[in-house]
Structure formats: C-alpha cells, structure tokens
C-alpha cells in the first residue's frame, strides 16, 4: 500500500520542488502538487505545506495564503485527523490559519539565515515523529527570515505541559542551552504540533535532507513517519 502525499502549492511557494523530489526519490511514494485554487484533498493520505514566500510573504508570512481556496480542504483534512506537515512557510501558514498555536516573527538578528543545524526530538508520538526516538538528534538545513517562534508565556507553558513541542534547536550533542538557537525562538522551539498530534509545523527543511550527497538524509526520518504508521488519514477513511 502506498501513501499518497499532496504538496500544497501557493503562489510564491518555492519549496514544492524539493518536497516533491524528497517524496518521489527519497520515499518512492506517489506525490502530486496541489495548486491553491483546488478545493478537494480527498485523494490524499498526507499533506505537506512546503516552504517559500507565499504571496511574497508580503504583509506577514503566511497571512494571505491562509485564505486561499485550498485552505478549507486543508482544515477539513486536519480536523479529520489527517497528517499535515507545515515546513517553514508552511508552518507560518498553519499558525496564521490557527491550525497551530503561536506565531512566527522576524528572526532576532533581522536577517535571513541559511545553514545546517541540529534539532532534538521532544515528542515522538506525533504523526510525523513516530519513527523517531525520543531525544533523537537530526541534522537539517534551515533557510528563513521569519522563524522566531513566539507565544505568550501561558501558551508556551501549555505547549510544554501538553508535549506539543516537537523539536528544539540543539548543539550537535543535544544541548539546548540557547547557543544553537538560530532565530531567537522562545524555549528553543523549532517545531510544534497541535493537541491531537496530526498537525506538525517546523522551521527546518526535512525535504531538503533526503540524500547524503546534498548534506544528509535525516529529513526522510520525518517525512516517512506517516508510512511507518501505516498511514492514511488517522481516524478517517
């Protein structure tokens, strides 16, 4: 049984190419781009919202994309328990759409940052982390200007209490003392999930880490989780 992935593409998305290739070449699974004007996602088992600059990131990253026609179907898919992964701009779209809590702000250094770094797995019970070990360290690239995760202190506490923090930036050996934080995110947060664990957003790019030749293949550990779970929409179909 194969898992059918959709790559939701907005005007200005630019990570769709990598997401498609990572699934096709890295996972050998069927995958299709879905243009923002479409309205149905019935034929898919898992959704990827790729990185990029939807609508130019004008106003706020993800702000305009949250109202694209396809987003009603994304919301439906998510509320039915289907696995949804928002990467970078996709993460920003999910927070703007309130499918994930909090917001992503301008990097503390006010500059774009592109580099490879390490993140530590904080919750391996979500749809996208179920094949990881707790505490497992992944090596992934980041490339963003607005990746500073922010939430009010009470909300951060709630996320901590509910195990909704999925990844934290860490040193190569797993320390989260702040020195590895590339953007000023609160509590070193690199990725979070919703309460149910089927919607995950993260700033690093697993879809650009699917081959040792280009720096590493750890991204496949995330993208493939829905396969290992025997995935199809958890709870539906």
């Amino acid at each position: 049984m194969s898992t059918r992935y959709a790559v939701i593409t907005f005007p200005g998305s630019n990570g769709e190419h990598d997401a498609l290739k990572a699934v096709e070449l890295g996972l050998q699974q069927p995958v299709e781009p879905v243009w923002y004007k479409e309205t149905s996602l019935d034929r898919f088992d898992a959704l990827l919202l790729p990185g990029g600059f939807s609508y130019g990131d004008y106003l706020r990253p993800g702000a305009i994309a949250q109202f694209a026609p396809i987003m009603s179907a994304v919301e439906e898919f998510a509320s039915a328990g289907g696995p949804v992964l928002g990467i970078c701009n996709g993460f920003q779209v999910l927070t703007e759409a309130r499918l994930l809590p909090g917001a992503l702000l301008r990097n503390q250094a006010l500059e774009f940052r592109c580099r490879w770094l390490h993140v530590r797995t904080e919750n391996n019970q979500t749809a996208w982390t179920s094949s990881l070990d707790m505490g497992e360290i992944l090596y992934l690239p980041i490339a963003h200007g607005d990746g500073r995760y922010f939430a009010e202190p009470e909300l951060v506490q709630e996320l901590e209490d509910n195990d909704q923090i999925v990844f934290r930036y860490c040193s190569p050996t797993g320390e989260t003392d702040g020195s590895a934080n590339p953007n000023g995110s609160v509590n070193e947060i690199a990725g979070i999930s919703n309460r149910a664990g089927n919607v995950v957003g993260l700033m690093p790019h697993p879809e650009r880490a699917y081959d040792a030749l280009i720096g590493g293949a750890d991204g496949l550990r995330i993208l493939s989780a829905v396969l290992a779970a025997g995935a199809s929409k958890l709870g539906t179909s």
């Binding site: 106003l59 109202f67 703007e96 917001a103 702000l105 990097n107 250094a109 006010l110 922010f150």
Partner: protein, 95 residues
C-alpha cells in the same frame, strides 16, 4: 453583496496602523533605536516598529466602512496573536 454595487458609494481613505503588542519583543525597533543613537540622537528613549497601510475603499457611509475595515483588520491586516491595530477613515479627496 459588496458595497461597490451601490449607486451612492463614496470613496474613503482608510489609514491602518498595526503595531506589535507590548509583550512581543521587537528587535527591529531596537535596531532602529540603536541606529538613531549611533547617529547621535540620544534623546530617543525607545522605538517600536509597525506597519502603516493606506486603503481606498468604496462605501455608502463612514460607519459601514468602519465596520468593514475592522473585519479586514481582524481577519487579515493584523495578526491579533501578536499585533494590535487602529484605523482612521475619512473621505478621500477627489482628484
């Protein structure tokens, strides 16, 4: 039905001001303050950076425009998780 369909519509100039909520750290405001201090403007105590938008909007009267604009702000122009907004509506000058 959108307001533009109405015969009696006038054009309004709407100015929207969006700023980060006080609890949100504003590195950009800090950088601007630093820049001003570097230029010798030591009297600047703090700076907060925000957004300013000018919209031309058709509408029958000020009250109805205000209510539409406030929706626009809630839905799109500001992210109320991190930002607050206010706006002014006045008749646009005919050119």
């Amino acid at each position: 039905m959108s307001a533009t369909d109405q015969k009696t519509d006038q054009i309004w100039l709407v100015e929207v001001f969006v700023s980060l909520k006080p609890a949100v750290n504003d590195p950009q405001g800090l950088a601007i303050a630093d820049g001003l201090h570097m230029l010798g403007y030591d009297e600047v105590q703090d700076v907060r950076a925000g957004k300013y938008m000018q919209l031309h909007v058709a509408g029958a009267d000020k009250a109805s425009v205000e209510s539409r604009v406030s929706e626009m702000c809630e839905k799109l122009l500001a992210n109320t998780v991190i930002e607050s907004y206010r706006f002014d509506v006045r008749q646009a000058q005919s050119e």
